[in-house]
Structures are given as C-alpha cells and as structure tokens.
Subunit: 453 residues, 2 copies
C-alpha cells in the first residue's frame, strides 16, 4: 500500500496546476440554475471533461436540466458513486467581488470564482483523485467509479429523486461520496453520518376581498390575526410541535451516535458570539445543545401581512401568509406530515387557511459503525494529520435520501475541498489550492480501500 500512496501523492503534486486550470476553465462557464444561463453549455463541458479523462460519459435528460453520468470500470465488483452538481448560485451582488465571478483568478494560494468550491472545484478534485489512483496503480482502478453530476442542486434538486428511481440499474453502487467536504477552524474534516429532512409549507389566509380601514376592526375579520391563531396551533412556547402523529415514527439516536455527539467540540460560546444570542432555544446548553439536532423543528421562515413600510398605516390586512419549515429526523416522512397538517388545521377550525407545499426532503441516516465511515475517517487522518469530526446528524437537509434508500441503503460519506470560510453562495467564493490537493489525496485513499471493504 505504501508505494501506491506515494505514487498518488506524487501524481497530485506534479499535476496540481493542470487540475486547478481545469477547474478555472469550468468556472469560466456560467451555469446559474435559478437564472437558466449557460446550463446546457456547462453540462456539455462536463461531459467533454470526463471523456478527456477516459470515462464513458453521457447527458441524460430530465424535465429540467440534464444529468451527466460518467463511468469508469474497476478491478473489483464494487462501485463508488460520486454525487456532484454543475450548477452554481447566482453571483450577485457583483460589486462585492474583488475579481469578476466568472473570470477565475488565482491569488493568495486560492482560486476565486463562482463555483470554485461549490461544486466545480469538488468535481475536478475527484477527477484528480481517480487519475492519481490510476497512475499509481498501472492504469487500473481498484473499484468502479460512477459520477452523477446534476444541474439543479442549487434550486432544490426537484428532479433528482425521480431520475434515480428511473435509472436504478444504471446507478448500481455500493457506497457514495456526497458533493463536498469541509474542514473546521482547527483543520479537522467533518464527517456527517446523517442529515435531516425538510417539509416547507406556506400558510396563507384571506378574510376579505380587499384591505379595509382599521376603523372597522370591531367587525371586519383580520387575516393577520387569523394566521396568528392558525400558527398558534402548530407549536407551543415549549417548542413541542402539536400536529398529531408528528413524533410517531422517530428513531432516537443510538448510543454510538450520542457518544460521537458528546465528543464533538463545544461550539456554544462561538455560536453565542457569532449570532449574538442571549439564550438558546429551551435554554439549551452544553451537550444538550448538540444532542438537540435529533429533535425535529418547526421554524417560521417568513411572515407577511398588511403594511410593512415606515410609520403608520391603519389597515386591516385582507391577506396574510407565513413560510414555515419543518426539519425532520429519521424516519419522519414529509408526505405523511403534510397530510396530517392539513387534517389538523381543518379539525382546529382552520379550513380557510390555505396550505401550500413548497418543498420536501426525507431525512438520511447511516449506521455509525459502517466500514466506509472508518475508511473515510482513517484516510482523512492520514492526509490531514487530525481526526475527523464525526457528526451523527447534520442540522440542514439535502437530497441524499434520493440515492441512499433506492440504491439499497448504501452508506454515504463526505470528503472534499472545503474549509470553514469558502464564501460559498456569497461574493468571493474560492477554494484554497492546498485544500484541493488534500481532498484529491483523501479521496484517492478512499478509492484505494473501497474495493476491499
């Protein structure tokens, strides 16, 4: 094994500049999915890039932007899937960029461009890793490699779940590495084992055809108060969510999950400082603050009613609405919860409150003792010289569920080029070149071991 690792690391060192240039070239092609600009051009560039690196690669249509599938054979029967995406976030506000977002620029040891980290840099680092393994292993790969590169991640992956369902044979694999990896402030790589699901709804209510003068408030119904009372049925001050059956299917964290959670660094003081928080939800602190990620949430993401300008306007709002998101833990099902919520509102006398489903994702959780966790953690420690941060559950959401269960409950880990301050989704997005090289080294090691897991 030692010579293989040496060969990998040497290859990456010697060819680093070429891969950074390939990343820059890909980043020079705008591909903002929410604006539609350059999507097909970028997808074709990605296909071309795979072909240049000896993959079978094709575009697959979806009702939205096409998916790029690329495949390379391996020596074992086992296949590792890489999920990435070629679309990027909008670059605005443009005036906040030091150099233009689609004119990639290297300075201070980093490549600056929209997509340099999220997710074009990640994609090219993986190409580098595969090439390095081949180079060190007489042109062969110890396991098969399958890339799925979609074009709608930044708009919520509306078609990927259906795409997976319709291409199960094409996507057969034994494990996956999700789109990215990140280092914390101490240079330790994060290794999440699960991620929460999401149900995003809008509650809206109309009590009148038109707004009215508030001099009629003694008899004309106010939509803002009506919305208020509907929201009141969702959650109490105790943070307990009141929708019937909401907590029914929840699987609590295992002892190993809790042990990993408790071993994580205490971020309480840092978070308090970052957000200027006086008191956390339910007065949480210490271990409980971290363990709370296994609790589902009901969050008001937005409220709109009536007059919102400066000063005063005496109006009874005819319409009011709230955006509400629920973060879900295994095995909560957003379909079931959405249906229960509608029934519950009706039962509580709020059949006039319109409920619109704006988004849904299912939770994902892998076993904490899966061998791929050990492989990812050990090879990460070899590259970064520090132990991974094993995070049993991540607070956000992502479409991992769309792959993991349909493909046979595969394990899904993370490894990649990020650190804690890449400015993803923001001006001056960048990837540090040293992080890029380390990510390629790390992923190459995972590839080397994956065939024999």
């Amino acid at each position: 094994m030692k010579p293989l690792t040496e060969g990998i690391d040497n290859f990456i060192t010697e060819n680093l500049e070429a891969y950074i240039q390939a990343t820059a070239q890909l980043c020079s092609q705008p591909s903002v999915s929410t604006q539609g600009e350059g999507m097909l051009d970028c997808a074709q560039m990605v296909v071309q890039l795979f072909k240049e690196h000896d993959y079978h690669a094709d575009l697959y249509p979806t009702p939205g932007n096409p998916v790029v599938i690329a495949r390379a054979q391996g020596q074992s029967e086992r296949t590792l899937l890489f999920y990435n995406h070629y679309d990027v976030q909008p670059p605005e506000p443009l005036e906040m960029w030091t150099t233009p977002p689609f004119e990639p620029t290297i300075r201070d040891g980093a490549l600056y461009a929209r997509g340099a980290k999220d997710d074009k840099g990640e994609l090219v680092a993986r190409l580098a890793a595969v090439d390095a393994v081949r180079s060190a292993n007489n042109g062969d790969l110890p396991c098969g490699v399958l890339f799925v590169v979609e074009g709608e991640e930044e708009i919520g992956s509306p078609h990927i779940a259906q795409f997976v369902q319709e291409h199960l044979d094409l996507l057969t694999c034994h494990g996956a590495i999700w789109e990215e990896g990140n280092l914390n402030r101490d240079g330790r790589p994060y290794l999440p084992l699960g991620i929460r699901g999401l149900l995003y709804v809008e509650l809206s209510v109309r009590t009148m055809k038109i707004d009215a003068h508030s001099g009629g408030a003694h008899y004309l119904p106010n939509a803002a108060w009506r919305l208020h009372w509907a929201l009141d049925t969702l959650k109490g001050k105790d943070e307990r969510i009141r929708i019937p059956g909401f907590y029914d299917r929840i699987i609590p964290p295992s002892d190993l999950d809790l042990a990993y959670l408790d071993a994580l660094p205490d971020h309480e003081a840092e978070t308090r400082e970052q957000y200027g928080v006086q008191e956390f939800v339910r007065g949480l602190s210490g271990k409980e603050l971290r363990r709370a990620v296994f609790e589902p949430t009901c969050n008001i993401a937005g409220l709109t009613a009536g007059y919102r300008g400066d000063g005063l306007k005496t109006v009874i709002p005819a319409r009011a609405s709230a955006k509400v998101d629920f973060r879900l833990v295994p095995q909560q099902d957003p379909d079931v919860i959405f249906s229960n919520l509608r029934t519950y509102l009706d039962e509580q006398g709020f059949s006039d409150v319109k409920l619109t489903r704006l988004g849904a994702m299912w939770p994902f959780k892998m076993q904490a003792d899966d061998p791929l966790v050990g492989l990812t953690a050990c090879s990460g420690e070899e590259v970064y010289g520090k132990p991974s941060l094993i995070v049993p559950m991540w607070g956000g959401s992502s479409p991992i569920y769309a792959f993991a269960e349909p493909l046979g409950n595969i394990p899904v880990v993370r490894a990649g080029v990020g650190y804690w301050d890449n400015r993803t989704h923001a001006p001056n997005e960048h990837v540090r070149i040293e992080d890029f090289a380390n990510a390629a080294r790390h992923i190459a090691r995972i590839l080397t071991g994956f065939g024999e897991l």
Copy 2:
C-alpha cells in the same frame, strides 16, 4: 327667518360659479404635506383668499407647516369654529387620473382635482356660506366665525394639539364644524357624535445579530416565533384585549346613543358584499354589528419577518416586527394604555420586545342631546329633504379631541360637500357642484341659528 333663507339660497345660486372657480384655483396649487411640495405657497393663497372675503387672517408657525387662522366678527357673543386643512394626499398613481390632479377640470357636473373634496372644496364652500349669510343679513354675521386651517392633517396632525394648547385665547369658541360632511347612498347627511381614539405601536424583536440557516432551528432563537408569542399576550381568540386596565375607564353608550345606533340603516349585507366577508368578528350580526363600534379593538396592521418572496428560503429570522393599532373609546387614554402595555410585556417576560409609539389620538364624544346636533340635523333636513344619519360613534379616529376638550368641551358636528364616492385619497378625486351648493346652504343655515343656541 324665511326671507333670510331665501336670500342665502339666491346668493349661493347666483355666485356658485365664482366659488367653484376659487376652489379650482386653490386646487391648482399642489400642497402634498407628506412630500412637502408647495406648502407655504398654498398657506399664503389661503390667507389671501380669506382677506379677499373680509376676514382678519394670518399665518401662525408650528414646528411643521403653518396654521392659517381667520376671523370675522358676529352680532352675538358666540363664535363658531371651522376646522379645515389646506394639505392634500399624494396624487399617485398619476396614470389613473383622467385629467391631471393639479389641473382642475369640470365635467359631468363635478370639479375634478386633488383636494377638490378633501379639503379645499370643503373650505371654499364654507366661505360661500359665510358670504351668503352676510349678503342676506345686511352685511352682518349673526355669530362670530373662526377658521383654523392646518397644513398637516394628511400626515396625522402631529402639531395641532400643541398649537391649540398654546393658543387657547385665540381660539375661544362655542362649537365647531369639523372638516367635512358626507351623504350616504340615499342622499342622507351623516352626523357623527363621536369618534374613536387611536394608539398605534410597533412591536419589534431581535433574537440574533444576523439571520441564520434554519438547519439550526433546534437551538437558535427565532424572532418570528418570539414576536408571535408576544402578540399572543395582547388578545385572545375571543377578541378580549388582555392588557391590564385596558377596559377600566370606558364609558358605555347612553340609551340615546343606542337608540340612534339601532335606528341606523342595516349595512350588514352591503358590507358582506363589499368586502367579501364570510363571517364578521365574533360572529356579529344585526344591531350588535353596529353597537360593536363602542368596543375598542386591537388590530394587527402589518407583520414582517424573514423571507417574503416567492418559493422557499430556509432562514431563521433574526428580526420580526408587527404594526398594531388600538381603536379607543371614551374615556380610554392612549398614554395610559401605552404605559400599561410596556409594563405588561415586561411582566409577561417580553422585555426584549421593543415597543415604539407611532401615533396616538384621544377619543371624542359629544352629548347626543346637544342643541347643535338638533340645529345641524334640522337644517340638513331642510336642505337635503331627508333626515340626517346620526351616528353616535364613528369607527375611525381624528384630532377632534385636540380642540373639543381644551376649548371647554365644545360640541363638534359635521356638514359639507361630500358624498359616498368622492374618491378622496384616490385618483379622480372630485366634488359634485350640486353637493357644493347644498353644503354652503346647509352651513349658512347652521350659522344663522348658532348665535341664538
């Protein structure tokens, strides 16, 4: 008396065109108080107009726009005060006007211009009424006449109460006619005997320095929920307002007030249609719907938090705010209620909720059996051929209180040029010329009788 009335009516008929022209000239001078345009020019035009009609007239400074005071001596000791204003609402949206708002145009028996009704037409109709009485009465007025014409009515009259307090001697009078009068759809003049007060506040709360990703909703405090729970303490679903002492000083309607209320036309079906309302507040209907105007209200006029655009954004709002107005009935005091509200929020654990006072008006209520009510109603019936609609309490608010109590609890009635569809505050504001003439006839009759009340 009969010859006097004939002389009045003849004078108005013969000189109507000149007064309509005077109204048009005044309307051609923009005076939008919220934008500041042309205020002093308009105030000086008003002073000049009074002087041309044989008044002593002067501008009086305030911290905002000046007040015009004009005075004419009468044969009796008694003085009738007219409250009017020379400022107007903004004319926007300009494209909705058939003819430009500051180019007064006569068509279909009406004068179209911003201010034609509110309040320049009202002011000039009163000048016509006074001139008519003089003309019919050998050049004398049976009572003194005092005009107070302010320039900040459309921005909430922020300085008029203090102005009155500082000029009590100047403003000595024995009754007043408020800025306007209106006919309902059946051509009956409204005669309100009272108007509710107002306390307008903003509740705002900040739980974090910056918005956060809703993946942290299990521990980061949400300002929208915090605001929700603060609002929850204000009012229950039963519409009962929970601020301690809120109902303490209320004086219930008299039997005569209730009799007048019950005699008003039933507007339930019309209101249901106009606003598309399924169910009124507390299921009110019939007489109770009208009597409810003697109940104070707590109205959410606006809600703002987090994401309010299309689609979804998963954010924990760091800041949320609500505009809330309370309509107050005699003798509720907005100063006391504001103070009680602050104390109450503190007691309920919401000392983090910032409470800003955006406006306050005190309620006004005159005795239903005051002689000026009878004079206004009888002379109105003589002019309009229909009985007045005596409304014991109006749902809105206005600064009548700023005059009535400081000037010795004077009675304050209404009479004027309006009908139910003048488009005040809207495009194509207009005054019907026949209404203008009738208002002058009505007010002249009130003037004739007021000296002997």
